[in-house]
Symmetry: C2
Subunit: 333 residues, 2 copies
């Protein structure tokens, strides 16, 4: 509860000096002895600056918002780490929200839109939010950076198309020909991955299968595999768009008596720790999520400083295949 005025009184100086000590301001000078007295007083009274007053005065809060679609999606683990780390480097704090809280008129949106709450917004997969919410967000006076391709504001993204290519190419190299593509929800990223799959298939002179069960999560994977088995020619391999859908693919395969990888090879996009612990352990394309988080924060700080943000697709590191046990070579026909 101690304020700068209390410090000033105890140290026998003015608040200006206290503020100057705190901020290392060169404008207001003081002797070393005075500075020491002030610091002593701050420690004695256990002084903690009032962020609200600072924010008001400086028109800057030191907080950025990070809005994700499903917070409990394990692919965000490293993204979060990257964002927190980069924000900490810049002296910032992160206000985390998820899609649940992003309904139009919700407390979270209202607060985000107010001045003096955050200095900028990092948003992932903005196509998943209400149009109303997005319109409101765009009217926000502070910068917004998308962690996904975006038409109408700055963005950085991982190379989703490349991930689709890598997974498909890997299966092609294992001599698979009947490869299907399963799962993924409606975001741009998910379509990009399918695009990568399509391109590789076509380049190999094969007909890409339609995008099956474009939903999200475990159930979409199970549904997708069942749908795939209805196709004229049963697939020998599957690219799973959303990694958690891979869990569903494995479960459905087990339920249907299909052995993985002997009768069906599975490759997931996005690697999470869980994949290592499934049986069979799932071969997956690791995406640079940590770096995406860092790049997002740094880009946002550029925008906040009034500079343009270069943005674009993160090229370093590239998506990388982590080979485990869920995919194997097809014997020659």
């Amino acid at each position: 509860m101690a304020t700068q005025r209390d410090i000033a009184r105890t140290a026998g100086v003015s608040v200006a000096v206290v503020s100057a000590v705190l901020n290392g301001t060169t404008h207001t000078r003081m002797s070393e002895a005075t500075r020491a007295r002030v610091i002593q007083a701050m420690e004695n009274l256990d002084y903690q600056p009032n962020q609200a007053a600072r924010s008001l005065r400086l028109n800057r809060t030191g907080m950025i918002a990070l809005i994700l679609h499903k917070l409990d999606n394990p692919v965000y683990t490293h993204l979060l780490r990257g964002v927190y780390a980069a924000a900490a480097e810049r002296g910032g704090t992160v206000l985390l929200g998820d899609a649940e809280t992003m309904r139009s008129g919700s407390q979270f949106v209202t607060r985000l839109l107010s001045h003096g709450t955050v200095d900028g917004i990092l948003i992932r997969d903005d196509r998943l939010y209400d149009d109303d919410v997005m319109a409101e967000l765009r009217s926000h006076p502070k910068p917004i950076l998308s962690l996904d391709y975006a038409q109408d504001h700055p963005w950085v993204s991982i190379d989703d198309c490349r991930a689709g290519e890598i997974a498909t190419r890997f299966l092609l190299n294992l001599r698979h020909r009947r490869i299907v593509f399963i799962g993924g929800a409606t975001g741009h990223a998910f379509r990009q991955r399918y695009l990568g799959y399509q391109q590789e298939m076509q380049q190999a002179g094969l007909e890409p299968a339609p995008h099956l069960a474009t939903g999200f999560g475990e159930q979409a994977g199970a549904d997708g595999l069942r749908q795939a088995l209805q196709l004229p020619a049963a697939p020998t391999a599957v690219v799973v768009n959303n990694i958690m859908s891979a869990v569903g693919v494995l479960a459905a395969a087990r339920d249907l008596g299909i052995a993985v990888p002997d009768q069906l090879s599975v490759v997931g996009i996005h690697d999470v720790g869980l994949m290592e612990h499934l049986r069979p352990a799932v071969t997956a394309v690791r995406m640079p999520m940590y770096e995406l988080g860092r790049a997002g924060v740094h880009g946002l700080y550029e925008l906040m400083a009034g500079r343009p943000c270069a943005g674009g697709i993160i090229a370093n590191p590239e998506p990388e295949l982590v080979v485990r046990d869920s995919a194997t070579a097809l014997a020659d026909a």
Copy 2:
């Protein structure tokens, strides 16, 4: 960028009236016509209140902090929902942090400790944080509520001991006698669950096995199973303390050629969506995490209002066994 003063000027009233319209203050009255003019002006100028100024004036931010140990732990999914929902009901916003960001001297802690950032703190498993951090937090002038048993400040908790009992009792009823208890990290909750296991074993006249592989996550489960097989008499059933460790138990069982549930029954504590999609699907004790979140928020608001928080263990709903495929009855010996 429009402030109340801008609204006041445009509507031809004083800022006092604008504020009154905004807050529905009865103190400053106005005619319906005036109110309408003010509202019109607010819409025209796209007015958004400045939270920093409000916080400063009111000495209240409308934000509460929620600090969790591992944000990506799926057991938090429903806890988060409960917290967000209850906070929204109270008109509050949630600032989410995880243990990563809770190092002493970190940006997050510093900000949390400052005035004018949050009105209260909800913390889970506070034994997992640095002593330094906890000491700092406790010196925080705003209320802290633990979502876990705590000695030195208010708390609410789920019934961890009961969960251990339920899992163990279930296996005992299936005629299992050699039941081990695996995994769990160092928190109080984890010890309570082991206690529940111990009690049930002793009540059945059996010798409880030592608490194996008291770590966290998938690997702890795998390690625990391997350790269990070193015991003089191999177990026929396992209670898994942390649910994600169940994934590791299943993987190790597969690797060792042990069939689940035919040769080994597995019951997990804490139910998450993933369990339904593993093969075999994992029988687990569902804990009322959503309600824990709600109870935590409501308790915290009580504390913030200066009232005592009843706290204690959440009795309704009770932990509930969700029977799936990973446990089966033991044939009579």
